[in-house]
């Protein structure tokens, strides 16, 4: 059943994402085309504006991807469409897992789209060899590609936890009899500030437990591996929070569903 639910979730999300991808890729193609004539001053101005628009579109694409995902979660599981979704012979856990997997898939799709658009717009001969050269280099005792890979995973976990936090807030808010949206927003804020507070607490604990890290930073003698160890603690912590938010969303959807 998971495959079927996921198929329809991705299809539904594509309705929002295809126009976004079309705008990003369209801008890239225009930039590539106009860059052939950038010696004409008016075209150079237009080109500059288009590059600016592409930077904005790329910058906002991950935010929009998250917003689309949350909008779909709300509509599919708590609005009119939910009368069909929740009467399908499918476990609540499957419905939720599918939404999370769909979120991961569309983040990757957006990432690929952004990468392609940047290549279309700015690719020059020798680009790849230059990139591979940089990625293969070492900095402070670690290859850069390892660091990039690590930060990518960290980014995805952080992004997913944020989405799951909103899922949990919506699930709790919509279990109430009235003011469902207001209640969701309040729970979202409680979770957000709760996470910030816990992050700060964890930072103090780490600093107290490992003061040499700060000293190394001040003396510029830190190693990348120290930095990664530092980030790993936060990554595990954020992943645990994500798991808690997943459980809250599941619990409220399974035991406290309230489609009044």
């Amino acid at each position: 059943m998971l495959g079927k639910v996921l198929k329809y979730d991705i299809k539904a999300l594509s309705r929002y994402l295809i126009p976004l991808y079309a705008v990003i890729l369209g801008l890239s193609l225009m930039i590539r085309f106009l860059s052939l004539f950038d010696d004409v001053s008016i075209i150079a101005i237009v080109l500059g504006l288009m590059i600016l628009a592409l930077v904005f579109a790329v910058g906002f694409s991950f935010l929009l991807t998250g917003i689309f995902n949350i909008k779909y979660y709300l509509e599919n599981l708590f609005k009119d469409e939910a009368y069909l979704t929740h009467t399908l012979p499918v476990k609540k856990g499957t419905l939720l897992l599918s939404k999370v997997l769909a979120c991961v898939i569309i983040i990757i799709m957006t990432f690929i789209c952004v990468l392609f658009s940047l290549l279309i717009a700015f690719y020059k001969e020798g680009f790849f060899s230059e990139i591979f050269k940089i990625l293969g280099e070492s900095y402070a005792g670690m290859e850069i590609y390892k660091f990039v890979l690590y930060m990518g995973i960290y980014g995805i976990i952080g992004y997913l936890t944020t989405i799951l936090m909103v899922y949990a807030a919506i699930s709790i808010g919509h279990s109430k009899s009235s003011n469902k949206i207001v209640s969701s927003v309040i729970w979202g804020l409680i979770f957000y500030f709760g996470i910030e507070f816990l992050n700060l607490g964890l930072l103090f604990i780490v600093m107290a437990a490992e003061p040499s890290f700060i000293m190394n930073l001040e003396n510029n003698t830190f190693m990348m591996s120290d930095l990664l160890n530092f980030f790993t603690i936060f990554m595990v912590f954020i992943a645990i929070l994500g798991g808690i938010f997943y459980y809250i969303s599941y619990r409220f959807m399974n035991k406290r569903l309230n489609l009044e």
Binding site: M1, K4, Y8, A12, R15, D80, E81, A82, Y83, L84, H86, T87, L88, P89, V90, K91, S177, S178, K255, R256, L257, N258, L259, E260
Partner: protein, 230 residues
């Protein structure tokens, strides 16, 4: 028994909407769930479909608790439109076909053909009434054990009411039960085997329609008007 509700209680905040509901529905009957606005009809239906969590009590559908297995047996028509209007008719049909093993694709295409709805039509260009008819066609194209129809004739003209009632009667599976909530008692009275009166979250009557008529010497519509007189 096909459906059994035991001591079902449900509140919205402090307001008690269902008060200790006990109900048993046999197989192969057409049952009218009748009551005034706000009497608890829709809430009871939602509880049976697992759209609302229970405060107390239990619901069994063919001996199964509300969940994946019970949902395989129930074909539910809510009082609102639950179809994604951005989809095409054929996409919706594929969706139903993918999730419901008892869904009959040929039957739905035939029903939609009668309504002059084409597979490539988009729901966004259909009228509200047409979307409601399509929803009914989808629900009645399942070979379900229990059809639960919430106000299927609410807010429609008499000709459409006739179409809806005919569609229901001509397409439900033999041996299955229909639980139908409505205010329009006179329209459905002739087809009812059993009637349930619900008032202020309590079941006030649950009896055989013919027996009720012969005992009171009145139509169900008249009994309803008497029982629920303001």
């Amino acid at each position: 028994m096909l459906l059994e509700c035991k001591n079902v209680c449900k509140s919205y905040g402090k307001k008690e909407v269902l008060k200790d509901i006990n109900l048993k529905l046999p197989k192969g009957k057409i049952v009218g769930l009748l009551g005034k606005n706000g009497s608890g009809k829709t809430t009871l239906i939602k509880v049976i479909n697992g759209l609302l969590s229970l405060d107390k009590g239990s619901v069994l559908v063919d001996g199964k608790m509300v969940g994946v297995e019970s949902k395989k047996l129930i074909s539910y028509l809510p009082e609102r439109n639950y179809l994604n209007v951005h989809k095409k008719v054929k996409d919706i049909i594929d969706y139903f076909s993918d999730f419901y093993e008892d869904f009959d694709k040929d039957k739905v295409y035939k029903l939609l053909d009668d309504l002059n709805i084409k597979a490539d039509d988009k729901l966004s260009v259909m009228s509200k009434g047409m979307r409601e008819k399509m929803q009914l066609a989808l629900v009645m194209s399942r070979r379900a054990k229990l059809y639960i129809l919430d106000e299927p004739m609410g807010g429609v003209d008499p000709a459409t009411r006739d179409y809806i009632l005919d569609t229901i009667l001509n397409n439900f599976d033999d041996g299955s039960t229909i639980l139908m909530s409505t205010h329009l008692i006179s329209d459905i009275e002739r087809v009812l085997d059993e009637v349930i009166f619900i008032d202020d979250g309590k079941i006030t009557r649950c009896e055989n329609a013919d027996k009720l008529r012969s005992e009171t010497g009145k139509s169900i519509d008249e009994v309803f008007r008497e029982d629920f007189k303001c």
